[in-house]
């Protein structure tokens, strides 16, 4: 090849490359233009998501829009938001997020669009139907930034057959009864744990919170001071950790979140399990659970301060403030959170955030009777948060979760609580600066 034809080829190749990349860029830009009829929705792996996907064709038909769904696990979802929203990407129109975990951070970073006007625009859709607690958690600086989707309460999962075998007539109503029942069952049934629950430092915090409240404690007091080394908190840490250490599975891992703990329970290896009610289908579905016919549900057992389970909005839908397709994004949210969809989801086992679906007998008809009763108790006496409500939730969870794992592994949990108190107070001071 002659030299200058070589150069020509190289140039041609370079321009071709440039042309291609330019095409690629403009191609993706084109989809995001204002009023595009493609709505990009990012959702978490959840029973709700499966239900909404089934109902989607109906929405696409009536609205003439096309919905593109990206579905991810909780942690991957957070990472995805961190990368895309940080970059100001318009790739996401509607986002499913956790108001208690990321709500404050996202709102502070202005990732969530202000939808105050949108929620009140349509009176048929009825914004006032949503429960007050959840609405508070999707409101930031008096602006509505999300629509609550799913609520969650902590309940006690238990094995009816094991209780019967141990001669225990009713599920434990107090934490003391829970402890003695767990001890008895663990002693009588080798290979079966009396009690199981999440053990991961961060993962356990939410399910530990009901223990904390029922002992009379909380993470933060009304004046904004850290309170994780009060007597009540120390008792709660020792109790939760002690239950797992003494009556939990042998060689228990300290990395368990709900999939691992749920697996132990549904494999028939534990008698009691405290967990969010929204995951109940994992235990009652014969395809996933070996104990589907013997699982029972009870309200969270009462501690010295009564039975105080958390009652929280676990997921909400919001609009990405960088989205160029906000009007259509809202159409999707309006449909997905409509009374019909909320009711349909509730019937499929996903507790909704609308008051009307709970008032409607149809709304709880498909629930196991004891579960519906347990939820009714928690919604009455429940506490509206299941983790410290701060901006840096992940960091805070690791701090207040340390005494839990220390208690599980038999370390000095009280000293650990004192340490956590100090670290947590530093974090709070830092945020309030």
């Amino acid at each position: 090849m002659r030299p200058h034809s070589l150069i020509a080829v190289a140039l041609a190749a370079t321009t071709a490359c440039l042309g291609l990349s330019a095409c690629g860029g403009s191609g993706s830009e084109g989809g995001e233009g204002s009023g595009s009829n493609v709505v990009k929705v990012t959702l978490a792996n959840h029973v709700w998501t499966e239900n909404i996907k089934k109902a989607l064709p109906e929405f696409e038909k009536q609205s003439g829009l096309k919905v593109e769904i990206t579905q991810l696990g909780e942690d991957q979802l957070s990472d995805q938001y961190n990368v895309k929203l940080n970059a100001g990407s318009a790739d996401i129109d509607v986002m499913m997020y956790r108001p208690l975990q990321e709500g404050k951070l996202f709102a502070k970073n202005k990732y969530l669009a202000d939808i105050s006007d949108k929620v009140t625009a349509n009176s048929d859709w009825n914004w006032s139907d949503f429960q007050a607690g959840p609405v508070k958690s999707t409101t930031y600086d008096d602006k509505v930034v999300g629509v609550p989707l799913i609520t969650e309460q902590e309940v006690l999962y238990y094995r009816k057959d094991l209780l019967k075998k141990a001669g225990i007539a009713a599920p434990p109503a107090t934490l003391d009864e829970l402890k003695s029942a767990a001890a008895k069952i663990a002693a009588d049934n080798p290979g079966i744990a009396g009690f199981v629950a999440r053990t991961g430092k961060s993962a356990a915090v939410t399910q530990f919170s009901s223990f904390l409240y029922s002992f009379g404690g909380d993470f933060i007091d009304d004046s904004g001071k850290a309170t994780v080394n009060t007597d009540a908190a120390k008792q709660a840490y020792a109790f939760y950790g002690g239950l797992i250490k003494d009556y939990g599975p042998k060689n228990v891992s300290t990395d368990m979140s709900w999939p691992e703990a749920m697996a132990i329970f549904t494999q028939g290896k534990a008698a009691f399990y405290t967990e969010a009610d929204s995951l109940y289908a994992n235990a009652t579905d014969p395809a996933k659970s070996k104990v589907s016919d013997t699982v029972g549900f009870a309200p969270f057992p009462a501690g010295p301060a009564g039975s105080k389970a958390y009652n929280v909005p676990s997921w909400a839908l919001g609009i990405n403030s960088a989205s160029k397709n906000q009007a259509n994004a809202w159409k999707f949210i309006e449909w997905a959170t409509s009374q019909d969809q909320t009711l349909a989801n509730q019937k499929a086992g996903v507790p909704g955030a609308r008051q009307s679906v709970w008032a409607n007998p149809e709304g709880t008809a498909t629930y196991p009777k004891d579960l519906a009763d347990a939820i009714a108790v928690s919604t009455k006496t429940g506490v509206g948060h299941d983790r410290p409500l701060v901006v840096k939730v992940p960091e805070a969870r690791e701090i207040v979760g340390q005494p839990i794992v220390d208690a599980i592994t038999g370390k000095d949990a009280a000293a650990s609580a004192d340490q956590a108190q100090q670290a947590f107070q530093t974090l709070l001071d830092d945020e309030n600066k």
Partner: protein, 310 residues
């Protein structure tokens, strides 16, 4: 080469050559290097520069939020952090050191065994390479199941010979070495591959001479094979070392965020990931990453210096 010289010396333009071609010809060294330089600039220099910039600011929450320049404060904070940073450095060194030592020693042993032709050689080589093609996350999940303290196969096997169940990954003290073991299981084949390639290219004569002189097998290995193979060994150590020090997938797949509840397997890479993706502390995370980068570059520099001396 004749063609090469011709390219450099022959008159490339004639009066009829169009202007753009003359220009292109005059700047052809830039033109040809251009794409590679753009690639390096966009994908290496810019991100590195941006990370250095972030490490000098108090960026947190969102990288687009207001941030102010705080000089070397982040570095001072990180270097004074005996709670997470220094233990993470120690774990990184431990993990890399143990993994590398076993991989090189085992790799050398297996490579020597495979050196001489034997029957079924092909099948053995394929079998040995299998761990290499598995994705690390899948490897992590597989070992997690095998090593599960209650239902895992490993503890059942120990039970058959009367050894009580071990905590493996869930033990505060055993987790890091268990993950190092997984790394060894997966990556020793790569070291074997590199060393075997080195061995097959060695000349036969020095060996024969040593044999004639009456050297024992060990002496032949120690004083003939090993010195000749040293450049290849250094390459294997470098490649595997850089990879091992940056290990993330196996650790994350088996122990999750923060390297477990007691940060049992939190190496520098896992720590930096947690700082940026869990805590959104971009300034500090960048400082950790820059320090991490310096550690890698530093140790590689020492290694290559050593190899040049050798």
């Amino acid at each position: 080469m004749a063609a090469d010289t011709a390219l450099r010396t022959a008159p490339l333009t004639s009066p009829t050559t169009p202007g753009w071609a003359r220009w292109a010809n005059r700047h052809r060294k830039w033109l040809f290097a251009g794409p590679a330089m753009a690639f390096v600039g966009v994908l290496i220099v810019f991100p590195l520069g941006w990370t250095v910039f972030l490490s000098l600011t108090d960026a947190e929450g969102s990288v687009r939020a207001d941030k102010s320049f705080i000089g070397l404060d982040n570095y001072l904070e990180v270097l004074r952090d005996t709670d997470r940073f220094w233990p993470a450095v120690l774990r990184t060194v431990e993990f890399t050191g143990v993994a590398l030592l076993f991989e090189v020693v085992l790799g050398m042993a297996v490579a020597l065994l495979l050196w001489r032709p034997f029957r079924g050689e092909k099948w053995v080589r394929v079998a040995i390479l299998l761990p290499l093609v598995a994705t690390p996350v899948a490897v992590g999940m597989m070992w997690r199941l095998i090593l599960d303290p209650n239902i895992g196969f490993a503890n059942q096997m120990l039970g058959w010979v009367g050894i009580p169940p071990q905590p493996w990954l869930s033990g505060e003290k055993t987790a890091l070495m268990t993950t190092a073991f997984m790394d060894i299981w997966q990556w020793t084949p790569m070291v074997i591959l590199i060393l075997l390639a080195g061995l097959t290219s060695l000349p036969d004569e020095p060996h024969e001479a040593a044999l004639v002189d009456g050297a024992t097998a060990w002496q032949r290995f120690r004083y003939v094979t090993l010195p000749l193979l040293m450049p290849t060994v250094i390459v294997a150590i470098l490649l595997r070392g850089i990879d091992a020090i940056k290990t993330f997938d196996i650790l994350y797949a088996t122990k999750g965020k923060g390297g477990g509840s007691f940060h049992e397997v939190e190496t520098l890479n896992v720590y930096a990931y947690g700082l940026s993706f869990d805590y959104n502390e971009y300034g500090i995370a960048s400082a950790v990453l820059i320090l991490f980068f310096l550690i890698i570059v530093g140790s590689m520099w020492v290694l290559t210096r050593r190899s040049k001396e050798a």
